[in-house]
Amino acid sequence: MAGKVYEFPDDCHYSESDEWVRVDGATARIGITDYAQSELSDIVFVELPEVGTQVEIGDSFGVVESVKAVSDLIAPVPGEVTETNTALEDSPEWLNEEPYGRGWIVAIEIEDLESLDNLMNAEAYQKYVEERSGS
């Protein structure tokens, strides 16, 4: 299929499980990528963690659902959840419309900034997406 064009902002880090991380000081905002929202199609529900939850890399910290699919949210960095985007509970469509903006999911106080080194930059993630969607 002729490849869809996805947006992968340069100021984010990306995980293999399709989360983005945008760092501001020690705080990271996390969401799902444009590719992830497109694969899931219309998102109808988001399950958010409680503020104060401690997560390790690889922990499931929430769930996003479309009509016929469920996808775990996997923590790309370790730390404590300091904020959640509760507006998504009423407006899950923001995840589709503005995955890097209003569709952010949680903010985490990062415990280990070096963990960001394990994530991809926009260019590497773009390649990673292309590999998976085949040609």
Binding site: D42, V44, F45, E65, V67, K68, P92, E93
Partner: protein
């Protein structure tokens, strides 16, 4: 063009609550000949509710029209071809309904003493014996209310067996990636961990793949045979041997038993426990989603763990035995969906052994015929002789922007219920077609013609397919809206 779909007169019909008129009366209630008391005087005001707010007030004709109109919006086996794969939508004989409605059956109370229910217990015993013979296993419980509850019971029995042998570390269940979703869900309900086994390129389970996952933590293998691709698990017996050597047991999901009657007995393939779906193989009505009935058969070795009560036959008398110290316990309030298993017994007795063998033969003949006739128009993901159902994909149509969902919707316009779609999960864009033995050559040919026409439309005028359906009462639904803002009941202020 000879497909049977036509438009017709369809009535609109509001919700019961919208049809309701204050003060209208439905069926009259007989008076009683004891003094009618004021509930407040008996129970006290504090326990009493007021009116049941929102409850409808309708005349009997209102109700009859309401449900008659609703019924006409449904597709059913009685009206047309319903090749929903894995669901075995065969003809549901009317005779079975007459049997279940016999007053002595319909009015039988489940807590009547054994002397008062000898007829029911005799029927239960008769069915248990027949199912044991069909499965090649020894004992049967009729208690599970549906296939998924049967899976739950079967897996619990297996856990009880391991526990009795002090092998409590066996907490893993091997399940092929072609399995129904109920299999992993039933395993999880038993506190078990699911290990997925990938089927080979030929669509079936291979002994090496199973062997690689076997160790002392494995409780059981859950196998559906034939599998959801319609393929017979040719290595089932060898796979079972491997599982047994490693101390595990073999569970068979009997959803596709329609393909095995008189052809192979699960007990001979190393199966230790299995469930039946009486509403599939044995013709009881699916009821718009249920009720079903999911009896479980086990080898003698596992009989001590069956749910209580069990039916015993002693000197021509029958009794319910509640004293089974190692039983997994009860899973149903009473003895399962008796009104359903009685229908299944009526079907079994109508067919007898030759009839059962014949039905399997014709079910498999029909599935292979459809596959042969459709293989030029649709992609066939797995080669090989199929059993009771076949799986196609939308790979060829996707090039024109037509998907499995579109093909399914277009079939409605042609007068058919679509096949099961997007299942099994291992096949992208699957269309799983199970014609059953009951369909005639001309019905199959009409379906083939419709499917070929859709393939043709996909190439020439794909918008016809993607805009379907146009004939049913409603067009494609906004499922996203339903899930984002769920409205799960009527409320008066919503109008």
């Amino acid at each position: 063009m000879t497909t049977s779909g036509r438009s017709g007169l369809i009535h609109d019909e509001p919700l019961l609550f919208e049809r309701s008129r204050e003060g209208r009366r439905g069926v009259p209630v007989d008076e009683t000949d004891v003094p009618l008391l004021d509930p407040a005087a008996v129970l006290g005001e504090d326990l009493l509710r007021g009116d049941i707010e929102g409850f409808p007030e309708l005349s009997e004709l209102d109700v009859v029209r309401h449900y008659t109109r609703l019924s006409q919006w449904n597709f059913s086996i009685d009206a047309g071809f319903y090749p929903l794969g894995s669901c075995t939508m065969k003809y549901n004989p009317k005779l079975n309904e007459t049997v279940a409605a016999l007053p002595g059956i319909r009015e039988a109370h489940p807590l009547a003493p054994d002397e008062a229910i000898q007829g029911m217990l005799a029927l239960a015993w008769e069915l248990e014996q027949a199912l044991a013979e069909i499965s090649g296993l020894d004992r049967v419980t009729l208690q599970p209310a549906a296939g998924a509850q049967g899976e739950f019971v079967g897996m619990k029995i297996i856990q009880a067996h391991h526990r009795a042998r002090r092998e409590t570390q066996r907490k893993r269940v091997l399940i092929p990636d072609t399995a129904h979703g109920t299999n992993p869900a039933s395993a999880a309900l038993n506190g078990l961990e699911v290990v997925e086994i990938r089927v080979g390129r030929d669509g079936i389970v291979h002994p090496d793949a199973v062997a690689a996952a076997l160790d002392e933590r494995v409780s059981a293998l859950m196998l559906t045979n034939p599998n959801t691709l319609g393929l017979f698990e040719t290595h089932a017996a060898e796979v079972a041997d491997r599982v047994h050597e490693a101390g595990g047991l073999v569970y068979m999901d009997g959803a596709n038993l329609n393909a095995l009657l008189g052809v192979a007995k699960p007990g001979h393939m190393g199966v230790d426990v299995m469930h039946f779906n009486l509403h599939k193989t044995f013709s009881t009505p699916h009821g718009g989603g249920g009720p079903g009935s999911g009896p479980v058969a086990v080898k003698n070795l596992l009989a001590p763990y069956l749910p209580t009560p069990v039916v015993r036959r002693e000197d021509e008398r029958y009794r319910l035995d509640h004293e089974l110290p190692d039983s997994i316990g009860r899973v149903h309030g009473f003895l399962g969906n008796a009104g359903i298993w009685v229908r299944a017994l009526a079907y079994l007795r109508t067919l007898g052994a030759p009839g059962l063998a014949e039905l399997t033969e014709r079910a498999v003949l029909n599935a292979n015929y459809l596959l042969a006739e459709l293989r030029e128009s649709y992609d066939v993901p797995h080669e090989g002789r199929v059993m009771h159902e076949c799986v196609l994909t939308d790979r060829l149509q996707q090039a024109h922007g037509v998907t499995t969902a579109d093909i399914a919707k277009r079939l409605m316009d042609m007068g058919f219920h679509p096949p099961t779609i997007y299942f099994p999960l291992v096949v992208a864009g699957a269309l799983m077609i199970e014609p059953t033995e009951c369909e005639s050559l001309e019905t199959l040919d009409e379906f083939v013609e419709a499917m070929r026409r859709i393939a043709d439309e996909a190439e020439r005028s794909p918008e016809k397919v993607t805009a379907a359906p146009t004939l049913p009462k409603v067009s494609r639904l906004d499922e996203v809206r339903a899930a984002r803002k769920p409205r799960l009941r009527w409320l008066p202020d919503e109008g």
